[in-house]
Symmetry: C2
Subunit: 424 residues, 2 copies
Amino acid sequence: MATVTSHSVSGICAAARQAARGLAQLDSATKDAALEGIATALLSSIPEILEANERDLEAGRRAGLSSALLDRLSLDEGRVAATADGVRDIAALPDPVGEVIDGFRRPNGLDVRKVRVPLGVIAVVYEARPNVTIDAAALCLKSGNGIVLRGSSSAAHSNAVLAGLAAEAATAAGVPEGAIGLLGGGEREELAELATQNGVVDLIIPRGGEGLKDALEAVATVPVIYAASGNCHVYVDASADVDAARAIVLNAKLQRPGVCNSAETLLVHSAVASELLGPTLRALADAGVELRVDERTREHAAELDGSLRQAEDADWATEFLDLTLAVKVVDTVGEAIEHVNRYGSGHSEAIVTRDTGAARAFQLGVDAACVYVNASTRFTDGGEFGMGAEIGNSTQKLHARGPIGLRELCTFKYLVEGDGQVRP
Amino acid sequence: MATVTSHSVSGICAAARQAARGLAQLDSATKDAALEGIATALLSSIPEILEANERDLEAGRRAGLSSALLDRLSLDEGRVAATADGVRDIAALPDPVGEVIDGFRRPNGLDVRKVRVPLGVIAVVYEARPNVTIDAAALCLKSGNGIVLRGSSSAAHSNAVLAGLAAEAATAAGVPEGAIGLLGGGEREELAELATQNGVVDLIIPRGGEGLKDALEAVATVPVIYAASGNCHVYVDASADVDAARAIVLNAKLQRPGVCNSAETLLVHSAVASELLGPTLRALADAGVELRVDERTREHAAELDGSLRQAEDADWATEFLDLTLAVKVVDTVGEAIEHVNRYGSGHSEAIVTRDTGAARAFQLGVDAACVYVNASTRFTDGGEFGMGAEIGNSTQKLHARGPIGLRELCTFKYLVEGDGQVRP
């Protein structure tokens, strides 16, 4: 436990870098044993964890944190057990390290293999939820990376206990000391120092809101992958099965409105607008959704007039993350694609259609990480894609796009074998 | 030709972005026809190209450019023909766009495909060589990307003619107008404006020296992949076949000393130092190589004493790009790995050995894009790897590592198809 929270930012990062060398070469069995050790330690330390968490909660209450924030900060036996289960799930995933991605023999006899290897040291910067301490550490450990964690100061006691347990269990299983480091989570200077550890930290992954993103963008020289926002659309085409369309729209908006892969705008082809909009918008309004609509939507759903609010231009570009939906009528699939590419954040976009031409046009034309035909946008998730746990979803195009799972926490190298080849 | 050199930086970038939408969906036949058109246009416009080049050369002579720089700037019939051949080689490569990288059916019946798609708009910033105008444009076009070229002002006339021919031939073949844009190549403000075109330019690839890299690092907010320097090592293990080792060392140093995958440091196990060093260093010295050696190398090659210079600490970290080699004796493969990871730039590293344990330790332990067993470092090259032409070699770990070919100029998206799936 001397390895966490006890040093400077540069000291903790350097220790993780040093540990990363050995970590990269650990066999899967050792890493999985360390993960099992972490899960066991969590379950056998619940009183200690909850006591530390209570200290954070008490401080939070004194500081006047909102009840939503206090809930995110709060742990109980069930949440700790679920976190331990998550660690065991990660242990059960295939080891990404050493996977041969590509391989071939060249005409001169050289054998080339492109092999997945850890990135090195990954820093994860996150806000209130203390379970991220364990989730992130487990994903980075399984992928053979050194880990630097930086939670928020509001969860400092919880994070210290959790990271300490994880580090201790990992070391006991044979993981090099220093592999899991925790920063204090205090001042902005700490973040700036972390974000400029070039050559020591290979990647920073922030998990948090726009404020954190802005703070990092302003200072980071280390590469950052932003687990970014999702302004996602469902487009219901002229040829759509209206029942399927309604089910998909309701699911994409209501199943979990506060997450990045939920829908924020509904686009409807004018040919099905009358048939679709009345019942669908009524169901949404009954579920408490605020509807911000264009003129034509109002015409097609006149019976709902009292529940409709005029959409403003900003609504098309907003990730509400809440029970709010923007609605617009379009006349062609091309117009829908145009709208999605203009306002979308490149996360998850869906078309509901029975027309192969419209489906193909939408999948080819929409520039986003995940483009769905006849399915809810809510499936953009490492678990739903069969990749196992994820550390977030990327809307950037370089390195990782979509769910960031174990493979995305790796790079690769070319291993080339010969018997004396020289270049003529 | 109205599409090049005639607008503002933001105008040219926006045109490329606009064109990129259509470009991403062009079939391979159209792109290959455009490339063939460019090759034909180059060959039928040699007088025009050489005339423009002569104006650059004249201005360069007046400005007192070195003869090396003038040589890099200079085109002749053979160089233009070779450039046209290069374009045809790129046309003959498989189209990376649409390749299915991964695909699976989920238990709920969703079909997921991970499909390669263009990045969008790629800017290439380069120095004197005007042929890069065509090489870069051809690679970006084949990979379905909009292109913004920024050459140096010293090659402005040559680049304008070359980019104009390429843009005209591409448009004639059905590529959207604006797909190939050329900036003036003048002031630093232009570079800064280009490097901050977030949301318009997806990636910047600089091809040039450290000055260009520093200039970009200071201002870029758009992602940059640096085609970086190579401080490459050859390590000759205790068990090496000494003849093979000598051949590999000579090839890695001498075959083309001015490029990034040539060797800069020779590490030799003490057990073979006496046998290897005398003849190898003599051959190197005879070829004009300056040898900067540690104490122990001097002891093992006493007969060469007059040709040996004491290595300084900075020599281990230097990419000489010239007829200079640092030489050091080590006692274990572990010591060699330690040295390589400390001083290397993560480009290309080689071990010469007959010992499987040493080979495995070196390949696993060395953190570099390409790790060779019993072959010259000079093979790190898109062509040598069978990837076709490359736009450079990356020593960074995110997105592209090693040769940057057509696939590395792409991202991917997940295409998901269902029949009404919603998330429970």
